[in-house]
C-alpha cells in the first residue's frame, strides 16, 4: 500500500509547529515524543503503521479550531481520529501529519426525551450514548460490532452501520445535526433537533466523508424508545443457496426483522468456541431477530419459522431466555475476535444485491482454493453487507500480499454483481485504489470537487478514499504553488 512521501519541509518545521500548538493547548494535550506518538501509528487495520509527526488531544471545539487554523497556516496535513477502531485505515497517519484525536471530548451536552434526541461530544463511544439514555428505556440505534470502543466521531466519518440497521438504518439515518470545524479553523453548525435540511443536505454529505471535510466535535443524534422485547431464532441449513433463498422469502413475506445475520461453517465453529452460544454444526447459519411484545414476537417468529421450514433447515431453534439471546449475539459480535484467535485475518466489507448471495459465496469458495487461504463468511444478510474474513499468516513472507490480492478480487466481484466495495467500514487506504473499479474518473471528480470546497488545500486526511493518482494534482497543488 503506497502512501505519499512525507514532505521534508514540514518535517523540518516540526519544532515550530509543536511550539505553536503548545501555545493553544494544555501541556498534556500535545504529544511529540517519538516513543509516545507511536501509540497513534495505526488503527484497527494493523498491517499498516506509521507514527505521526505529532498528536494532539483537544478538549474543546475552540481548541480543535485553534489546532486546525495553525495546521492550515503551516500547511501541515491533519488526520482526525476517534477511537482508532477503523478497519480501513481511516486514521492511519503519515510521517508529516498531526493526529487530531477527539477522545477527550466525551460529554453528554443535552438529553431531550420529548423531542427524542441527545447531543454529545463526538469522542463519546457509541455504546455509552445508549448508556446515557438507557435509564429512560431509550437507545441509539446504529450498533457497529466495535460499539464498546468506537467513537461517534468515527461513526459519522465512516457512516457506520451494524447488525440492526436493517430496521433502524445506519448513522446517516440517525444523525440530526453537527457542530464541526473546517480546516481553516472556522466553526459551522449544520442541522439540529429539527428534521431535514432547509437548503442543500450538507449533513448527508458530511456523514461518511471519512474525516476529509472537517472535524465534527458535537453531534445531535436521534434516540428511540426501546421495544418491549426482542428474540432471535437460529436456523441452520446445509446449503448456502438455500439459506440465501430463505432470507429473500422472509423479506418478501412482509415481515421486517431487526436483523438477519449469516455465518458459514468456519465462522460458526470459531464463534461457538469463543462464546458457547449453542450454534448448530451446519453449512450456513442464520440469526433472525424480531422485536415487540411477547405475543408480537411469538406471532412474527411463527411466520418466520413457517417460511424457514419450507427450506428444510437442519436446525431451527428459538432463544428461550434473555441469557441465551445475549450469548447468541455475543457470538456474532465476537466473530472478528474469534477468527483472530485462529490466525491473522483481513476483514472485507463489500455489499451485494441479496439475490447474488449464492453466486458470490460459491465464487469466494473457488478463489479461496486458488489462493490457498481459508475464508470465513459472516455478514448482514438482510441488506447484503458481507464480511468475508481471509485468514493468513503475517509472519509468512508474501502471505499479506497474497491476502490483499485475494481480497481485491472479492471486492471487484461485489461491484461486478451490482454491489459496492464497502458497506459500513469505509474506504480509508484499504479500498482506495479499488475505487476506480466502482467509479469512473468523472464520478470521482464530482466527489473530489466537494472536498475542494470544504478543504481547498487538501490538508484533511488527504491520502485516503481516492486513488492516489486521481488525487495527486490536488494534494500537491499547494506545494507546487509555493
Amino acid at each position: 500500500m503506497d502512501m505519499p512521501t512525507p514532505n521534508p519541509d514540514i518535517l523540518n518545521r516540526k519544532a515550530l509547529v509543536l511550539r505553536r500548538l503548545q501555545q493553544v493547548l494544555p501541556e498534556d494535550a500535545v504529544i511529540h515524543d517519538p516513543a509516545e506518538t507511536r501509540a497513534y501509528e495505526c488503527d484497527a487495520l494493523t498491517a499498516y503503521r506509521c507514527p505521526p509527526m505529532l498528536a494532539v488531544l483537544p478538549s474543546t471545539t475552540q481548541q480543535v479550531s485553534d489546532v486546525l487554523r495553525i495546521c492550515h497556516e503551516e500547511g501541515v496535513p491533519v488526520v482526525p481520529r476517534g477511537s482508532g477502531t477503523s478497519l480501513a485505515g481511516g486514521a492511519l497517519p503519515t510521517a508529516d501529519c498531526v493526529i487530531l484525536g477527539v477522545a477527550r471530548m466525551n460529554d453528554v451536552l443535552e438529553t431531550d426525551y420529548d423531542n427524542r434526541f441527545i447531543r454529545v461530544q463526538t469522542g463519546r463511544t457509541n455504546l455509552s450514548v445508549t448508556g446515557a439514555v438507557e435509564e429512560e428505556d431509550f437507545f441509539y440505534a446504529p450498533d457497529p460490532s466495535s460499539q464498546l470502543a468506537c467513537a461517534i466521531a468515527g461513526n459519522i466519518a465512516m457512516n457506520s452501520g451494524g447488525a440492526h440497521c436493517l430496521k433502524y438504518g445506519v448513522t446517516t439515518n440517525n444523525l440530526l445535526g453537527v457542530k464541526m470545524v473546517l480546516m481553516d479553523g472556522s466553526v459551522i453548525e449544520i442541522g439540529g433537533a429539527h428534521l431535514d435540511a432547509g437548503g442543500l443536505d450538507l449533513l448527508g454529505l458530511i456523514c461518511g466523508s471519512e474525516g476529509q471535510l472537517g472535524v465534527v466535535t458535537e453531534a445531535t443524534l436521534r434516540i428511540l424508545r426501546k421495544p418491549e422485547g426482542a428474540r432471535p431464532v437460529l436456523m441452520g441449513f446445509d446449503d448456502n443457496e438455500v439459506a440465501g433463498q430463505c432470507v429473500s422469502d422472509i423479506i418478501k413475506s412482509g415481515i421486517l426483522p431487526v436483523a438477519i445475520e449469516f455465518m458459514d461453517t468456519l465462522c460458526i465453529k470459531a464463534c461457538e468456541n469463543f462464546a458457547h452460544a449453542g450454534y448448530p454444526d451446519c453449512t450456513a447459519l442464520l440469526i433472525v431477530e424480531v422485536e415487540g411484545s411477547e405475543a408480537e414476537i411469538d406471532d412474527q417468529l411463527a411466520k418466520i419459522i413457517e417460511i424457514a421450514k419450507r427450506h428444510n433447515p437442519v436446525e431451527l431453534r428459538e432463544s428461550q431466555s434473555a441469557e441465551e439471546s445475549a450469548k447468541i449475539w455475543l457470538g456474532r459480535k465476537s466473530a472478528f475476535g474469534a477468527m483472530g484467535q485462529m490466525n491473522d485475518y483481513m476483514c472485507l466489507d463489500g455489499t451485494i444485491p441479496v439475490s447474488s448471495l449464492p453466486e458470490v459465496l460459491r465464487r469466494i469458495g473457488e478463489l479461496s482454493k486458488e489462493y490457498g487461504l481459508p475464508v470465513g463468511n459472516v455478514f448482514h444478510a438482510g441488506d447484503g453487507n458481507m464480511h468475508p474474513l481471509i485468514l493468513f499468516d503475517a509472519n509468512k513472507p508474501g502471505d499479506l500480499e497474497k491476502c490483499e490480492a485475494f481480497g481485491a478480487e472479492i471486492l471487484k466481484l461485489c461491484v461486478d454483481v451490482g454491489g459496492c466495495l464497502t458497506g459500513e467500514h469505509g474506504v480509508g487506504i484499504e479500498k482506495r485504489d479499488l475505487m476506480s473499479h466502482q467509479y469512473a474518473l468523472v464520478d470521482l471528480e464530482a466527489q473530489m470537487a466537494v472536498k475542494d470546497v470544504f478543504d481547498p488545500d487538501w490538508l484533511l486526511n488527504p491520502a485516503k478514499v481516492f486513488p492516489l493518482d486521481a488525487s495527486e494534482a490536488r494534494r500537491t497543488a499547494r506545494l507546487a504553488a509555493e
Partner: protein, 366 residues
C-alpha cells in the same frame, strides 16, 4: 426540451446557451426560466427486486406507475411522498425524479425516514453535460462521498437526475388510527409525544386544530396492531377522549397532502422545528390556518398573500419554506430559508462546481 435518453439529455445540457428550469411532471410549483428541460421522456422501471427491497427507475417515471408496481408485490415507498397537485392546483403526473429532487416525504418520515433516507443511488447529468453516478442499488454503501443525499433535495440545482434507486418496504397488513380530542396545541404535542415515546411503533403523529384531533397511526400485522391500540388508548385517554378513526387511509392521505388547505386561498408555508417548539412557534405565526405533522415538528401554515412569515418568526431553530405563493412573493422572500453565511458559502461552492455555468434552476436555492 424533452430528451428520451440519458445520452440525449447529456448532449442537450452540454449545448445549453441559456439557463433552464428542470421539470419532471411540473406539479411542485418550481419557478424558473421559460426554457425547460422536461425529464418525463426518461421513463420506466429498470429493475425491481422485491426480495431485496430494491427498485431502480428512470427519473421521469410517474410515481403512480411505481406505486402500482410496488402494490402488486405488497410493498410501498415508506417515506409516503406527498402529492402537491391539490395544494398547488397543478396537473400532470408527478415523477419519481421530482420526488427525489425535492426530497418529498410524508407523515411516516417521523418513524421511517425521509425520501433521502431511502435513496440508494443516483445517476445525473451535471451542468457541463457529464453523466455522473453515485451510490448504487444496495442498502449499505459507504463507498466514497454520499452525493446521493446531496442530490436529494437539491431541487435540480446540481444536476438533472436521470435514474434513481430506492429502498422499498413491505406494505403493512393493517392500518389503524386513534384520534385524541385535545384542547390546544400544547396538549396535542403532549399526546403525540406520548405515542412517539412509547414502544408501540407509532408511524404517524399529526394534529388538525380545525377538528381538535391529534391523530396517531399504528401499522403492521392485524394482531399486533390491535395489541398496540389497546396499549396506547389508556395512555392517551389521560390527555383527551380517544376514538378510532373509521378510514385511516383517507385520514393520512388528507394530512399528507394538506387537504384542509385546498379550498382556501393565501400563501402556504412549511416550517420544520423541534416538536416541543411547535406551540410557541405557531403563536408567532398567527396564521389563518395551521396543520401539524411529525409530532409537531412539521407545521403547515396558511397566511394572507404576501405575508413575510419569516419576519413574523424572527430567529428560530429550524427552517421555513414558501410552498405556495405568487411569483413576486417568492422573489421577494425567497423560497428557502436563508442560511448562515458559512453554509451559504459552502452551498455556493458546491453549486459552482456541479454547475459552473449556472444553467440549472438559477435563483432557486440561494
Amino acid at each position: 426540451m424533452k430528451p428520451e435518453t440519458e445520452a440525449e439529455l447529456a448532449e442537450m445540457v452540454a449545448g445549453l446557451q441559456h439557463p433552464v428550469r428542470i421539470v419532471g411532471g411540473g406539479t411542485r410549483g418550481v419557478p424558473g426560466p421559460e426554457a425547460e428541460i422536461n425529464t418525463s421522456g426518461l421513463n420506466g422501471i429498470t429493475l425491481y427486486e422485491p426480495g431485496a427491497l430494491t427498485l431502480v427507475a428512470q427519473a421521469g417515471t410517474p410515481v403512480a406507475e411505481i406505486e402500482a408496481a410496488l402494490d402488486a408485490e405488497g410493498q410501498q415507498l415508506a417515506f409516503e411522498p406527498m402529492d402537491h397537485r391539490g395544494l398547488l392546483g397543478t396537473k400532470a403526473e408527478p415523477t419519481i425524479g421530482g420526488v427525489v429532487a425535492a426530497n418529498i416525504s410524508g407523515p411516516r418520515r417521523i418513524q421511517s425516514g425521509a425520501c433521502r433516507d431511502f435513496l440508494l443511488g443516483v445517476r445525473y447529468v451535471d451542468g457541463t453535460g457529464q453523466v455522473v453516478k453515485n451510490g448504487g442499488r444496495v442498502m449499505k454503501n459507504v463507498t466514497g462521498y454520499d452525493l446521493v443525499k446531496l442530490m436529494a433535495g437539491s431541487w435540480g440545482t446540481l444536476g438533472v437526475l436521470t435514474e434513481v434507486s430506492l429502498k422499498v418496504l413491505p406494505k403493512p397488513e393493517t392500518v389503524a388510527t386513534l384520534a385524541v380530542q385535545v384542547a390546544d396545541i400544547d396538549s396535542a404535542v403532549q399526546a403525540m409525544s406520548v405515542g412517539l415515546n412509547s414502544p408501540f411503533q407509532v408511524s404517524g403523529a399529526a394534529y388538525d386544530p380545525q377538528d381538535g384531533n391529534a391523530y396517531l397511526r399504528v401499522e403492521g400485522f392485524q394482531d399486533s396492531v390491535s395489541y398496540r391500540l389497546k396499549q396506547l388508548t389508556p395512555l392517551l385517554a389521560k390527555i383527551g377522549q380517544v376514538s378510532e378513526v373509521a378510514d385511516p387511509i383517507a385520514t393520512w392521505r388528507a394530512i399528507r397532502d394538506v387537504q384542509a388547505f385546498h379550498s382556501h386561498g393565501g400563501d402556504v408555508w412549511r416550517i420544520s422545528v423541534k416538536p416541543t417548539d411547535a406551540p410557541e412557534i405557531s403563536e408567532r405565526l398567527s396564521a389563518d390556518q395551521t396543520l401539524f405533522d411529525w409530532g409537531g415538528g412539521l407545521i403547515w401554515a396558511r397566511v394572507p398573500q404576501g405575508t413575510d412569515l419569516r419576519a413574523r418568526l424572527g430567529r428560530f431553530d429550524g427552517h421555513a419554506t414558501l410552498v405556495r405563493a405568487t411569483e413576486e412573493t417568492v422573489k421577494a422572500f425567497g423560497r428557502f430559508q436563508p442560511e448562515p453565511m458559512a453554509l451559504q458559502a459552502l452551498t455556493r461552492g458546491i453549486r459552482q462546481r456541479f454547475d459552473p455555468r449556472g444553467v440549472f434552476n438559477p435563483g432557486l436555492m440561494g
